[in-house]
Amino acid sequence: MNASFNHPVLIVVVPLLFAALCPIIGLIRRSLVVWLALFGTACTSFLALSLIGRVTPGNDLSYHLGGWEPPWGIEIRIDTFGLLMVCVISTLGILLVLYSWKYMERELPANRLSYYYTLLMLIYTAMLGFSITGDIFNMFVFMEIFAITSYALVAVTGEKRALRAAFKYLLMGATSSVCVLLAITFLYSVTGSLNMLDISNTLAELSPDYIRVALAALVFFITGFSVKAALFPVHVWLPEAHSIAPSPVSALLSALVIKMGVFGIFRILFTVYGPGFANETANWKSLNEVVAWAAALSILAGAAFAIAQKDLKLMIAYSSISHIGYIVLGICLLSYHGTAGGFYNVLAHAMGKASFFLVAGCFLYKKGFRRIEDLKGLGRSMPISSGAFALASLSVIGLPPSAGFIAKWNILWGCLDSRKYLFAGVVLLGSVLAAVYCLKVVYYLFFTGPRMRDTRIEEAPAAMYVPAALLSLGTLFFGIFSGLILPSLNSASRILMIR
Amino acid sequence: MPGRILIILFSAVGTVFFLGGTVGILRFPDLYSRLHPSTKCDTLGACSIIIALCLYSGLSADTLKLILIIFFLLLSSATCGHAIGRSAFKHDIVPWHKPGVKPLPFEGEEN
């Protein structure tokens, strides 16, 4: 029993602790809350990164809460994918809190700032808990936490359209939560367990009477989670909510929260049901096909809508739909390259999209510009932000030295692997469309407007452009050093497919 | 067995009172008069059925709680009736009068 024995649960508990402390500290000194939140996220990310050596593919880290063994108690189970999510969330968390420091000071009255940070810490708690839990009802509980907090975070400025967007989000999100609960009900009624592995074992030898119910549960799970992930037919809440929310919140929602929906789909399709269930019935595979089609449609629709937008943040939001499509497509290809690529895209998109939104926030903060046309020549007056945008757009498009390239390359490989050439075409077309909308912005930033001499450099505060720049450098880093993560993702996916 | 008869009696009486409350709610002409069956008949119906239950369970630990329920029911239903009536009064909802009867001064302007 070594010192890091309790780290899995501490990842969830530490941000919760800081969330509870935030309002109390806020009463004493409001300016301290930011530092508290920063410290909390730093601790969390230290804990998360310290787990890296301990989880290897096929060798999950299991932690029994309260000392009750799994089917009876709740289990925390960290596999490679969960570990990836945890590291991404907690590392991005620090940067987003740092960014919020200056940005939110202007957006919110002082008395609500401490509650903003509380909500931020709570949403981290929920996402971390969601990623590493091994229990479906526990997953639902954490899903509700991040759902409620994200409704509030969208509307936190109290702006007119933000409220509308938040309400729309709330109605769809709450309905999807009910769908998930109903699915849990169905699944519980035929398996009698809530632990994922236990359910998976039970499903493999399910009595044929209950196959129908289990499939209904699967359908409801996927419906519910795809609303949270904003897949194509049910994406309608996303553009408004993500574009109107304050920029760090947009970055949070786009980079992390919708990934939770994807992760939910992944967990249900592979950890809970999995190929073992597929041996009983062909339905699992055909459902995978359906989801993959929805994902392909989201890739195209998201990119097409993004091209049509005039508003920068709205464009980025639609681009998120497209990228969620990539991730889900990769996961649903049933080829280990695809799954690894999908998860690599989680990393790449989290950094790239967060960088996009943060840069958009910088523009908004400094100049008050939202429209793409207004950005003319901003590349000269705000070089660091614009540079970060350009760098991140490499990753979003999927051009070679960036992480996005590695991700899309692997997804493409997966498509070819499983002989779905149509999907391969979709992936390529999506990249071309992404190039159109990203390069339009880059063009406006750097190749139009007044000449270099006429402009002074007016950069946003360092606390704002540093996170953005770091994130876009990160996309480059993980593009070049893809060997750090990709092999273990590959082998973990391979194990997943064999099981 | 006298206990049984008492229980049946009490619950029957309670049911009749409840029925009276329902019919009163449905039949009476206006809001204020509907207050009467709702506050009185219902409360007494509930009380008598609860007394029947007291008898049914015999003298046990629950009896005191049942009596407490009766007490709270009386208090709260009287208060509720008053509160509803007062809100209607504040809303200037004019009470219904029998066609032949000369209406009394409303709001007690003179009496």
Partner: protein, 121 residues
Amino acid sequence: MNWSRIFQNLNYAVSLLLFLMGLYTLAMKPNLIKKIMGLNILETSVFLFIVSIGMVDSGQAPVMAHGAAQQVVVNPIPQALILTGIVVAVSTTAVSLSLCIRIHQKYGSLDACEILGREVA
């Protein structure tokens, strides 16, 4: 379809009916507060469903008295889950209602058609 079986599992059928009614309210009623009520119906219907699953005929409530002999007890797990579920429902309702208040302050209306333009979300 066997009628006696439906009658036995009436709770399932009714919670499905309530589920559909909640969905209908959520989709069709323009008023936001009405939508929230629909959401509540929706949630309650699922709660009813899962607790009905845990029911055992002639079972007792899962509270063991001191030194009681082994008795038939209904399944405590769904009840524990729904306890959490009710809390979640209340929280969602509180958040959505405060959103309603703010929306009314800004828009002067709670009608989804007026707020969202032509479409009814």
